[in-house]
């Protein structure tokens, strides 16, 4: 249990009548990068969104089974969603900085969680978060500019940076590079690998090569089911399931 960031047990999930996830049972290790791959609509994004329950806003959803994050059941009635989301941060496919300044973006989460924070502490948070994502030198004189004026890659880094003052345990990256150019992708991948030291990371990706480059473990999903989970090198070199092999060779998906 101790070194599992996520344990799912017979977890199923429905949007209305549509079953998006079927009986998922697996463990995800801490301080590792786990890639979720599979064709569109296979449920990988849905699973990611279950981990901080962000998918409960848009109407009828239901679930069976359980998910534990760091040993705690996230569907337990005592769970406060803001607290869960604070500890399980998500980065979306499309960079979505808030329509505020760069500075306010980084501390937005901290402001919503802490009652009173001294300005000096906020300044510290901004500096350390931006340093961590490698943008402090670049942006330290531009903190009051609108975040939406940044390039897409920097916006995405900012979206990662604004999670850090909350001291999350788990980072969820939902195809974080799909809106970026090759240089941006490389930068985000390097950052992701660097963040692994301090955070457990789950990354959903459509790119097989990205999964190979960044992840330690890989999970292949298909039609809401877990087909295969293994160390990334093993899964890509010796897939045990026919469907995994077919997908990673590009025969469908």
């Amino acid at each position: 249990m101790r070194n599992h960031a996520v344990n799912t047990n017979e977890f199923s999930f429905w949007y209305g009548n549509f079953q998006a996830l079927k009986n998922l049972t697996f463990n995800i290790s801490t301080s590792k990068i786990t890639a979720l791959i599979g064709p569109s609509g296979c449920g990988k994004s849905t699973f990611l969104k279950c981990l901080n329950r962000i998918n409960e806003r848009g109407g009828e959803v239901s679930h069976e089974g359980s998910i534990q994050v760091l040993g705690h059941d996230i569907y337990h009635p005592s769970v406060a969603l803001p607290e869960l989301r604070k500890q399980v941060g998500m980065v979306f496919q499309k960079p979505n900085p808030l329509p505020l300044t760069i500075y306010e973006n980084v501390i937005f989460g901290a402001r919503t969680h802490l009652k009173k924070v001294k300005n000096a502490e906020l300044d510290m948070m901004v500096e350390s978060a931006l340093t961590r994502v490698g943008m402090w030198e670049d942006l330290k004189d531009k903190l009051n500019r609108p975040a939406l004026g940044l390039s897409l890659e920097k916006q995405q880094r900012l979206c990662i940076a604004r999670l850090l003052p909350l001291k999350p345990k788990l980072l969820l990256l939902d195809e974080p590079c799909s809106a970026l150019d090759p240089a941006g992708i490389e930068a985000i991948e390097i950052l992701t690998k660097d963040l692994k030291r301090d955070y457990s990371i789950i990354i959903v990706t459509h790119s097989m090569s990205q999964a190979k480059r960044v992840s330690d473990d890989t999970i292949f999903m298909y039609m809401g089911e877990l087909i295969e989970m293994n160390k990334t090198t093993d899964l890509f070199n010796n897939p045990t399931e026919g469907r995994t092999a077919a997908y990673i060779e590009g025969r469908f998906g």
């Binding site: 901080n52 962000i54 806003r57 109407g59 969603l81 803001p82 607290e83 869960l84 989301r85 604070k86 941060g89 998500m90 979306f92 499309k94 979505n96 900085p97 808030l98 329509p99 505020l100 300044t101 937005f108 989460g109 919503t112 969680h113 609108p146 975040a147 939406l148 979206c159 604004r162 999670l163 909350l166």
Partner: protein
């Protein structure tokens, strides 16, 4: 190479014609507004003066000024906006941010749209029944303002809903995702970005209130009062009602009086609207996206 084909030339001619058509239609729509204001100014000029704005009407409203009607209109508009604006914005926030999309809320939305289509004379009767008689406010500024507020609610709710919807959903998602509550998200992200739109709705309702006659007819406006209202429980005069009275009900009013009164009413509404335009552009420049 790269020379336009005859088909392309035709296309460009059509394009030009269509553009000219649109611009001339737009211009002719603007023209009446200009003509009306000029016409009123010319016909009303004999009586237009500072005294006209600051004196009481005298000689059975056939001479003097319109000061009490301006005061009355001001009371009515301010009070009705104070009532309808918070109620309308709150209702819109609930409908847009909190309410589930089910049969009940769809009926509520439909009811609000229909409320916007209710003729103002019907609002007046409702105000008479509900505020004047049932709540025992009597014919008073209060009852008339409440009636105006009810009339303006759907406009404010609808325009607020539209401007809330215009804030991209991804902003809300981003805010929730760092653990902000719905209230925090509304307070720090949604409202600041929808204020220009909300303001527009409010100001339109100010214009409507200022010009409205029927809705206040039975609920709080008098033909003529020899004194200014001292509290919201008094009756008052209003510009719109006064215009109606001196144009149709009083004998022997010089021609220029109704024109001048109408001009004051229109200019009042125009100036309120331009305040809205200025505010909107101010908020736009402050916007971070």
């Amino acid at each position: 190479m790269f020379r336009p084909s005859s088909h392309l030339i035709n296309k460009e001619i059509k394009e030009k014609k269509f553009k000219n058509l649109l611009s001339s239609i737009t211009f002719f729509l603007f023209l009446p507004a200009l003509i009306i204001i000029l016409w009123l100014a010319i016909k009303g000029s004999p009586v237009l003066s500072w005294d006209f704005l600051t004196q009481d009407p005298i000689n059975g409203m056939t001479a003097g000024g319109i000061f009490p009607t301006i005061v009355g209109t001001f009371w009515l508009v301010v009070l009705s906006v104070l009532v309808s604006c918070p109620l309308g914005v709150i209702a819109a926030i609930y409908l847009s941010e909190y309410a589930a999309d089910n049969t009940l809320t769809r009926i509520i939305r439909l009811a609000i749209l229909n409320l916007a289509g209710v003729p103002s004379i019907v609002h007046a009767l409702f105000g008479l029944g509900a505020f004047v008689l049932f709540m025992k406010m009597g014919t008073s500024i209060l009852a008339a303002s409440f009636t105006l507020a009810v009339m303006n609610l759907p406009v404010i709710i609808t325009s607020t809903l539209e401007s809330l919807k215009a804030v991209p959903h991804s902003y809300r998602e981003a805010s929730w995702n760092v653990g902000a509550s719905k209230l925090q998200t509304i307070r720090y992200i949604v409202l600041p970005n929808s204020i220009p739109g909300i303001l527009t709705g409010v100001v339109f309702s100010v214009g409507r209130s200022a010009g409205e006659t029927a809705a206040i007819l039975f609920t709080g406006v008098a033909f003529y009062l020899p004194f200014l209202p001292r509290s919201v429980f008094d009756q008052c005069m209003s510009l719109s009602m006064h215009l109606f009275t001196i144009s149709t009900q009083v004998v022997g009013v010089p021609d220029a009086y109704p024109y001048a009164t109408a001009l004051v009413l229109i200019l009042l509404i125009l100036s309120v609207n331009s305040i809205a335009v200025i505010l909107r552009s101010y908020f736009r420049t402050k916007r971070k996206w």
